[in-house]
């Protein structure tokens, strides 16, 4: 065994332990004897966080929040109707409670009283309605438009907000936790999208796009057990080495998106902790199921058997992730199909499916760029090398990163893509797998899948719902046009001085974008 092999083995073993810990933290409650004594959260200090994202073109407009930098700082500045708790359940934020009609079509949210904006104005149901309406309608420029499109009507009713949907949706309150849908102050039924006001735990002091954000604690914040830091400084450090150096030299306390190629070096640095969280983020290779040869399900199956998933997790994610099973649902999600057979690298089965499709060999082009996901080009090359054993010749086409989502994604028949994952199964399937959905990247249109999706959405019986979701996952894995080889953990790092809750949110990076208000200085 060469040194190189040893290193890789060590890494993936460590990675396995790490993700096991993260899983435990996300799902299980450890017995008190095992639980590490955690310092109680306390107030004070200035937290400095460096993000890999952030752009000079960033805006305060909630329609445009496209990177973890703007999303995190605006989640600290604002509240949403609901919040996804670290364990994945849903809790109220601006909404104190909510209830659905029997068909899950009408939802009534009771708005919390006594919450104020930083300007001193009270948060009213009218503000909530105006904030949601900003993302709806013909004129909407919002990336969240497809989420709020099913809303037929939204109106204030006393201290309540009543939402009527075009069809039943048992998961609707989860949608209201989306980071775009923050509550902003309104006047005459309109919000000012560029306002600096907010109702969250931190008041915006300065915002220099692409450089930094400074915030101070909101003294009137309604949550007593949140927002521990007195001041917050967020920096945009796009260069991976500069970000890691900033952490090592003590210029910042926390960094997001650790570069996986050098994570071993970061772990050797004293006083630094690497924090991997297994979540729903997954990397995919997607086929256009309308176009030959991908219109033949046997070809799709052949490609799914021709990829070595474990190798990708080991080499592209350095062990910080899990193998995927061609379903966009994370293992920790409640309706994950545990009985679905895990696909593994099997050139014989791939050959069998090719033969079924009437082919001896297959020549395809795979379009990749690192803007699809970090390491997409290398992953494409590994895919190509392994698939060759099954008679599948994949020509990896390196596309420009600039403009990838506009010119390659959903245009080229076979390309790389990624999904940050969605908090509910319904949302993930509706956004990217339902026939005709705007982001259905494989253009897959399965009648049975569509029926089940609509039925499960309004089904309030848990067992029936589970059965439907399991069948949908089966369809997705065995007929769908998306190869999902790996789920990538969110890998962050922080210094010893930073206190982290026992359970860290896995729905998005940075503790579900809420590290700023959930973490503290130990």
């Amino acid at each position: 065994m060469s040194t190189n092999d040893l290193k890789t083995a060590g890494l993936s073993r460590r990675g396995l332990l790490k993700s096991a810990t993260a899983l435990g933290a996300a799902g299980l409650i450890l017995p008190a004897s095992v639980r590490r004594a955690m310092a109680q959260p306390k107030r004070g200090g200035t937290i400095r966080i460096a993000f890999a994202s952030g752009n000079t073109t960033d805006s305060l407009d909630p329609a445009t929040w496209d990177s973890q930098f703007v999303q995190s700082f605006n989640t600290a500045r604002n509240n949403t109707l609901t919040e996804i708790a670290p364990d994945g359940s849903l809790v109220g934020e601006i909404a104190e409670s909510w209830e659905a009609s029997a068909d899950a079509k009408t939802w009534t949210f009771k708005i919390r009283e006594g919450v104020t904006f930083h300007s001193g104005k009270s948060v009213t149901p009218d503000d909530v309605v105006a904030s949601i309406n900003y993302h709806r309608g013909e004129e909407s420029k919002s990336a969240a438009k497809p989420y709020v499109d099913p809303i037929d009507d939204i109106k204030a009713d006393g201290q309540n907000v009543v939402v009527t949907l075009s069809g039943g949706n048992a998961d609707f309150p989860f949608i209201m936790a989306d980071y775009h849908l923050v509550v902003l102050p309104s006047a005459d039924g309109k919000i000012d999208p560029l306002t600096t006001d907010g109702c969250g735990g931190y008041v915006l002091d300065s915002f220099e796009p692409g450089v930094s954000v400074k915030m101070s604690r909101n003294p009137n914040y309604w949550k007593s057990d949140r927002a521990w830091f007195d001041n917050v400084e967020l920096l945009s450090i796009v260069d991976a080495a500069a970000r890691q150096n900033a952490l090592i030299t003590g210029e910042v306390d926390v960094i997001d998106s650790v570069d996986l190629n050098t994570v071993a070096l970061l772990q050797r640095a004293p006083g630094i902790n690497v924090l991997p969280i297994a979540g729903n983020q997954h990397y995919v290779f997607v086929m256009d199921t309308r176009a030959a040869p991908y219109s033949d399900n046997n070809v799709r199956q052949a490609l799914k058997y021709g990829i070595d998933r474990q190798e990708l997790v080991d080499k592209i994610l350095q062990g910080y992730g899990e193998v995927g099973n061609d379903i966009p649902i994370g293992r920790q999600q409640p309706y994950y199909n545990t009985e679905l057979e895990q696909k593994t690298y099997d050139p014989d089965k791939a050959k069998f499916h090719l033969k079924e499709a009437g082919m001896d060999s297959l020549n395809v082009q795979l379009s990749v760029a690192d803007s699809a996901f970090a390491g997409a080009v290398d992953a494409g090359v590994l895919f190509s090398e392994r698939a060759a054993a099954a008679g599948i010749n994949i020509e990896v086409v390196r596309e420009p990163s600039d403009g990838y989502w506009d010119n390659v994604w959903m245009k080229k028949p076979f390309c790389a893509s990624y999904w940050g994952g969605r908090p509910t199964q319904d949302l993930m399937f509706s956004v990217a797998y339902q026939g005709g959905a705007p982001w259905n990247e494989s253009f897959w249109d399965n009648a049975r899948f569509g029926e089940l999706l609509v039925a499960a959405r309004s089904e309030l019986d848990d067992d029936k719902r589970r059965a439907m979701y399991w069948e949908m996952q089966d369809l997705c894995a065995n007929e769908g046009g998306t190869v999902i080889p790996m789920f990538a953990s969110y890998v962050m790092a922080h210094t010893d001085a930073v206190g982290i809750p026992e359970v860290v949110g896995a729905n998005q990076g940075m503790d579900g974008l809420r590290a700023i208000e959930r973490w503290w200085f130990a």
């Binding site: 073109t57 407009d61 445009t64 013909e138 796009p209 692409g210």
Partner: protein, 317 residues
């Protein structure tokens, strides 16, 4: 002296024409890039309706020449408009960043220009000695490495030991001394990158003159070699040296985006790159014009100084 004034007036006029042509080229080039602001801001989340709504609001659905003329008319009145992406006035976006860029450029130049002139003169004086070879080898080595590599080496040696900060963070409250300290590593990186060019030009220009008869004469008089170079050779070698210094100063203003990224320094380069990536054309135009103006003005300054250093050009018959 009237020769100089005529030249300045002519060159400024030509400079304005250059800026105009550059604005057309930049606009056209940005138009040629695939996609526009709407698609690049929405990225993976784009739907045809939202893209159309953004285009309509920002007037991106108008034909290209209409948009260019609208921009030109406003720019001629001194209004560079607002960023399409975040609606901030471009003057605000550029203001502090231009200050930062000029500060770093001047800081690096204040180290690099005296250093390279001195090394160049000494290398000419002691040419073909160990000193000359060593200075040349070092300068060529540092210019041959990519900038980011030089930067990483400096961070590894000087920042990880705690001597200097690895990121050059500055805000309005940073004092001048503190700013010098915080930006020392980026300034040093740039110094290492530009020194070789200026030093070797100084050396070559002086050595070129040392074969002239009037230098022979000075030597035969028994003059001290240092005095020969400073008093007799250097004034006649100034023109090429000034040109090279001006070119390098222009580079320090316009070409340092890699150093800005590595040291997280908020300068114009980063703004330009981000704005091109997001197709935020008004910002791209404004920054490109600043860069072009820097080249035009520095070249003009170099020509004026070269003319002044040469009596034959001033007192033309």
């Amino acid at each position: 002296m009237s020769v100089v004034w005529t030249m300045i007036a002519k060159r400024l006029g030509l400079g304005l024409l250059t800026l105009f042509v550059i604005s057309i080229i930049i606009f056209g080039a940005t138009e040629l890039l695939p996609g526009d602001l709407a698609t690049s801001i929405l990225g993976q989340s784009a739907t045809p309706e939202t893209v159309a709504a953004i285009r309509k609001e920002l007037g991106l659905d108008l034909p290209a020449h209409t948009r260019y003329l609208n921009w030109l008319v406003a720019a001629l009145q001194g209004d560079f408009g607002t960023s399409l992406a975040n609606k901030r006035p471009i003057a605000d976006l550029i203001g502090t960043r231009l200050g930062n860029t000029l500060f770093l450029a001047l800081y690096a130049a204040a180290i690099a220009v005296p250093l390279s002139l001195m090394l160049g003169i000494l290398a000419a004086l002691y040419r073909n000695t160990v000193f000359d070879r060593a200075a040349n080898a070092l300068a060529l080595t540092s210019i041959s490495f990519p900038e980011f590599f030089v930067a990483y080496i400096l961070i590894f040696v000087l920042a990880q030991s705690g001597l200097f900060p690895s990121i050059a963070r500055m805000d309005a409250s940073t004092s001048f001394g503190e700013a010098l300290y915080r930006t020392f590593l980026p300034a040093l990186t740039l110094t290492l990158v530009v020194t070789a060019h200026m030093m070797r030009m100084t050396r070559a220009a002086i050595i070129n003159l040392l074969a002239s008869p009037y230098i022979e004469m000075a030597r035969l008089k028994g003059m001290n070699p240092m005095r020969v170079i400073l008093k007799h050779a250097l004034p006649n070698a100034l023109a090429p040296i000034i040109t090279v210094v001006a070119l390098n100063l222009a580079y320090l203003i316009t070409g340092v985006v890699v150093v800005e990224v590595v040291f997280v320094y908020p300068g114009l380069g980063q703004l330009m790159v981000d704005s091109v990536a997001k197709r935020d054309i008004p910002v791209v135009q404004a920054v490109a014009l600043i860069f072009a103006a820097a080249y035009v003005l520095l070249n003009l300054t170099a020509d004026v100084l070269s003319t002044l250093s040469n009596p034959r050009l001033i007192h033309r018959k």
